[in-house]
């Protein structure tokens, strides 16, 4: 699966580096100074690299844990994210990563010990004057579970959250790779959040990801095992028969996943910063999603306000039929 591994000199002897190299004995190894030499180089083609992404093993320097944008919440007021990985196995056409990063290679920061120090530091700081839980989001710049076989995220990071009950962890994924979660006792302070899209969208837009049905089945199994589930209808995609498709999706979700297992349900519009959208448009000039009825307000590119509002109102109404108000977090349009 991985045929090319770039390794920063500083982590060449790191135990995780040695483990990953053992996992891929046939991969070609290239030594690099800093990951930016490969990852941030100008004139790279994200679309072509997506055909065969390489793995970059690197050391995360400076800040490991950062505050989320102000509206990024699932109920808490103290929200942070950390990215042990940059980029994703999947190839979702709406994903901001394809417009944000020049390279489609996966960067895996192997120094989890520094991330845990960062998490502890933020937690100590935030807990000094308040007992309110602190939320940490891990799936901001990657899919939390898709490359679990390589990252072993659950092995490296779960002990921290087991010891720190006041730290909430959101794992966000489109993967059905739940075996690592089923093999350990559920973490009461973790939310396994699945991006859920109508099946035609999963198939035609969320390339290489698990089908909607498999995601639902995975969420169901986890719920039965005692894990708390998050449902993320984000972004809402305007497409032919969208009303029927979102109704069907919500119907399936409510039948398969018991409401008491649901921690939170969020939904949000599809929006791109203008410059990012133009980069994506250059990569995929004839893609139906990118060619869709999108509109620029000078700063962001999104569906026409009327479409956004109609979808927001319709899906909010749908969600409120199935889930109690305190579980719903709908980003306003």
């Amino acid at each position: 699966m991985i045929e090319q591994i770039y390794i920063e000199d500083s982590v060449r002897e790191h135990p995780t580096t040695l483990r990953v190299c053992n996992q891929f004995p046939k991969a070609s190894i290239v030594s690099i100074g800093r990951y930016g030499e490969v990852f941030n180089r100008s004139n790279q083609n994200f679309r072509l690299q997506k055909k065969k992404s390489a793995l970059i093993l690197a050391e995360k320097q400076n800040e490991t844990v950062l505050p989320t944008p102000s509206n990024y919440t699932i109920g808490g007021s103290k929200n942070y994210y950390f990215s042990h990985m940059l980029n994703c196995l999947y190839d979702c056409r709406y994903c901001f990563l394809q417009g944000m990063f020049r390279s489609a290679n996966y960067v895996f920061f192997v120094n989890d010990e520094d991330f845990k120090k960062g998490l502890q530091s933020v937690l100590d700081q935030e807990s000094a004057n308040s007992e309110e839980p602190v939320y940490f989001f891990s799936g901001y710049d990657c899919d939390s579970l898709a490359l679990e076989k390589i990252t072993q995220f659950t092995i490296h990071y779960f002990p921290f959250f087991r010891e720190n009950k006041n730290a909430m962890l959101e794992l966000r994924t489109k993967s059905s790779n739940i075996r690592p979660l089923l093999s350990v006792p559920p973490l009461p302070n973790a939310i396994i959040a699945f991006t859920m899209s109508p099946e035609p969208i999963a198939k035609e837009v969320e390339h290489k990801s698990a089908s909607t049905l498999r995601r639902i089945q995975s969420a169901k199994k986890l719920a039965h095992a005692g894990w708390r589930i998050g449902l993320r209808l984000d972004p809402l995609i305007y497409h032919e028969n969208w009303k029927e498709n979102y109704s069907l999706l919500l119907d399936q979700l409510s039948k398969e996943i018991p409401e008491e297992s649901i921690h939170s349900v969020t939904m949000g519009p599809m929006r791109f910063p203008k410059a990012m959208f133009h980069r994506i448009q250059e990569l995929y000039p004839k893609d139906p999603l990118i060619s869709g009825p999108l509109h620029s307000d000078g700063k962001n590119v999104s569906y026409e306000k009327s479409i956004e509002m109609e979808m927001h109102a319709y899906c909010k109404e749908l969600l409120s039929n199935y889930y109690s108000e305190n579980r719903l977090f709908c980003y306003e349009v």
């Binding site: 290239v30 072509l48 969208i201 995609i237 497409h239 032919e240």
Partner: protein
Amino acid sequence: MNQGDICIVTAFMLEAETFIHNLGLKQETVFREYPTFIGEDEGIHYTVLISGLGAFRMAQMIAWAFGKTLVRPSTSIINIGIAGHSNLEFGQIFKANKCVSSFSNETWFPPMVLKDSLIQSSLYCVSKPETDYKLAGGYDMESAGFFSAISKFGIPELCHAFKVVSDNPQNSWRDLNKSEIPMIVEKNISILMPLFKELGNLSRNELDLSTEHPAYDIILKKAHFSKTQQFQLSKLLKRWDTYFPHSDPLDKLGNPVNSKQWLQKLTAKLDFPMPSKFSP
């Protein structure tokens, strides 16, 4: 349908002979600056260019080829030639996965998107033939010029350096018989041909994506479009192609009198809030 486009660049005729013969290329006499050979094979357009010795000449030739439109951004440009190597055997082919310039200390990492099982190696670009092979890897005299130029003008994912080992610690470059060069390149042609095919396909896909809608040139002749407007027209027509693949915009837009009207009418048609169609 567009054709894949490959340009093979070498330092010497001896390194290029194999390709010229096997692909049936003919010399293009219009260009006197560099020996140039052109032809087609299995739906791929090939150009072979010979730069002469050294990284500077290689970079200069690639820039020249872009200037003469012998190559374009979607062309797969491939540097093939002989190289010394610290540990690979004489005649072994390898692909450069890292190129280090001994003149500037610059480093390039060619993106590895091909489905091949070629041996990979670092490649050090030096100013004279290597005798010590102190650093593990290959040694050549053109690759820094090659990577420097393609990183500016080309699509790096489509551009690669393949080298055949001509000398190593056991076989000095001084003992290399020139007549052996075409032979060791020829021995690797069966490895290279499938890669050419793959690169040709990738090149064709890139060209397809950048090819303008058939109506683009016709509309440009009907009104004066500024550069910005040409760019807007190009984007709108590509969206048109996605929305209405079987419909000719010239039939649907009436007779706009100027560029502004053309863009307005196209925008109006495309901004009608119809949902994207995805097959279930």
